[in-house]
């Protein structure tokens, strides 16, 4: 059953050093507030899982939070590279990153298997690519009925899943809508689940393409308005595309990156102050 708590408390209580942690959100509803809190609490040796490591993981990797990364696409969408990720892979800075690299379909099905309490998932893929040469978690499997050979990938069962949603109700049920991506499977595959939300409401309105995650599947709900910024929350605020562009020169430079994180993430109390901090100082303009 979800308890409505502060984000600091949720992260302190549910994320341990060395955990495998999945922060999901497919372009939409990326849990930046929670990521910053994990960084602020100086969690260490995390194996980060995410289909699309973008700015949120660039920040975490650059701060040395991650010892490993399980992923399928790492970039700054529409802008280019994520340079802290590249720096870690290309130069081992701030330290080397143990990588486990898949395709989107592979990652999605790994979460599905995890959510289903199955040890593996089956798909048509990987054959003829170089991914099986560098990733050990890919294996052939034969259909017992047709004899056809397919590909198996092992389940993902993160210690912690973190997602952002538009709303929770007072019982801790969580509603999200618009592009819901892989969040349902990420949450249901994990041992512990933290959800940040824009707001708590008395009752959910119907929303097109919406899903409701029942309270019983969630451990902690924390209210963090604009907690997905600079990504977006459908019907709440748009994606700040300019932020993504402005991140490029910051992320590109170890020193600039360090100063930015020091000032706007480590040096603030929480995400509300972070938002004020980058706005007041025109940090992303």
């Amino acid at each position: 059953m979800a308890e409505v708590v502060g984000l600091r408390e949720a992260v302190a209580g549910l994320v341990d050093d060395g955990d495998t942690v999945a922060l999901e959100g497919f372009t939409h509803l990326i849990p930046f507030a929670a990521a910053h809190e994990i960084v602020r609490q100086q969690k260490k040796d995390l194996t980060l899982v995410r289909m699309t490591p973008d700015l949120v993981y660039d920040q975490m990797i650059g701060m040395g939070t991650a010892k490993g990364l399980i992923f399928s696409w790492g970039g700054n969408p529409g802008v280019g590279s994520i340079h802290r990720f590249r720096d870690a892979v290309e130069h081992g800075w701030p330290h080397p990153l143990k990588m486990e690299e898949h395709s989107h379909a592979g990652m999605a099905n790994r979460y599905v298997a995890g959510a289903s309490n199955l040890p593996f998932a089956v798909l048509r893929g990987y054959v003829g690519t170089d991914l099986p040469k560098v990733t050990s978690t890919i294996a052939p499997i034969t259909c017992p009925f047709t004899g056809e050979e397919l590909t198996a990938v092992p389940a993902l069962n993160p210690d912690v899943a973190v997602i952002h949603a538009q709303q929770a109700d007072r019982k801790g049920n969580v509603a999200l809508w618009g592009i819901t991506g892989i969040q349902k499977e990420a949450a249901l595959s994990a041992r512990r689940v933290i959800v940040t939300v824009e707001e708590v409401v008395d009752e959910f309105e119907p929303h097109t393409f919406g899903i409701v995650l029942p309270s019983v599947a969630i451990d902690a709900v924390a209210v963090e308005p604009r907690g997905a910024y600079p990504s977006y929350a459908h019907d709440y605020y748009p994606r700040d595309n300019a932020f993504y562009g402005a991140w490029d020169p910051i992320g590109r430079d170890r020193e600039k990156f360090g100063e930015w994180m020091e000032k706007h993430v480590l040096g603030v109390e929480g995400f509300a102050e972070h938002l004020r901090s980058i706005t007041q100082q025109g940090a992303m303009r």
Binding site: H28, S72, W73, P77
Partner: protein, 263 residues
Amino acid sequence: MTDGSRRGYTADEMMTVAASRRLADRAVCFVGIGIPSQAANLARLTHAPGSVLIYESGTIGAKPEVLPLSIGDGELAEHADSVVSVPEIFNYWLQAGRVDVGFLGAAQIDRYGNLNTTVVGSYENPKVRLPGAGGAPEIAASAKEVFIVLRQSKRAFVEELAFVTSVGHAEGGDSRGKLGYTGGGPTVVITDLGILQPDPESKELTLVALHPGATVEEAKEATGWDLKVAGDLETTEPPKEAELRVLRDLKERTAAARKEKVG
């Protein structure tokens, strides 16, 4: 490099227009971000209003007013026929064989249309770490056919890929067929210089058309292998007024919207 601007359009515009023309009306198209997305939306706004655009974020029948910066922009969900989860879009739509055309870009391509979006250099010690696979390997595997769009250069059109991220025609001939994929693989590569198609037998990419002003020498110079050229080499019809107008309107709306949303 073709000086398209003297002709009233750029080489990139020619490439986008040429790519868009390939998309048949009512085709179900799995769209990669960037030029593929420009081309697919240009098609939708011109000759292919019945095309169904799918983005890997789960939007089916997306009708963006402005071009998305990412595959998951709110714009894509807003007017979509349906939005489904990521497992569903990959399993129930792509793998299920519901996608007629996969529209892909890449960092590197080889003579058989295999693609690299993973690394330049070695995997363990990369010179450039690229974003990785994303949805491309399974688009390449399962779409009935694949259109590839990228600018032609020796850095991109290489003798040997640093990493095979997505399979085209594998090692040529019928080698793709032996991998057991249900999709047909690449049928066309559209560049800023011309159009390449796999030879029916060998599956080696062959230059079949040049854009106006481009030359065979330029194309060969921009290719890292000994590029085959079709005997009956065609010249691409230049962008029509209407195509350019719609494309530029789309890009202007996009630029304006991106400024507007900022902050």
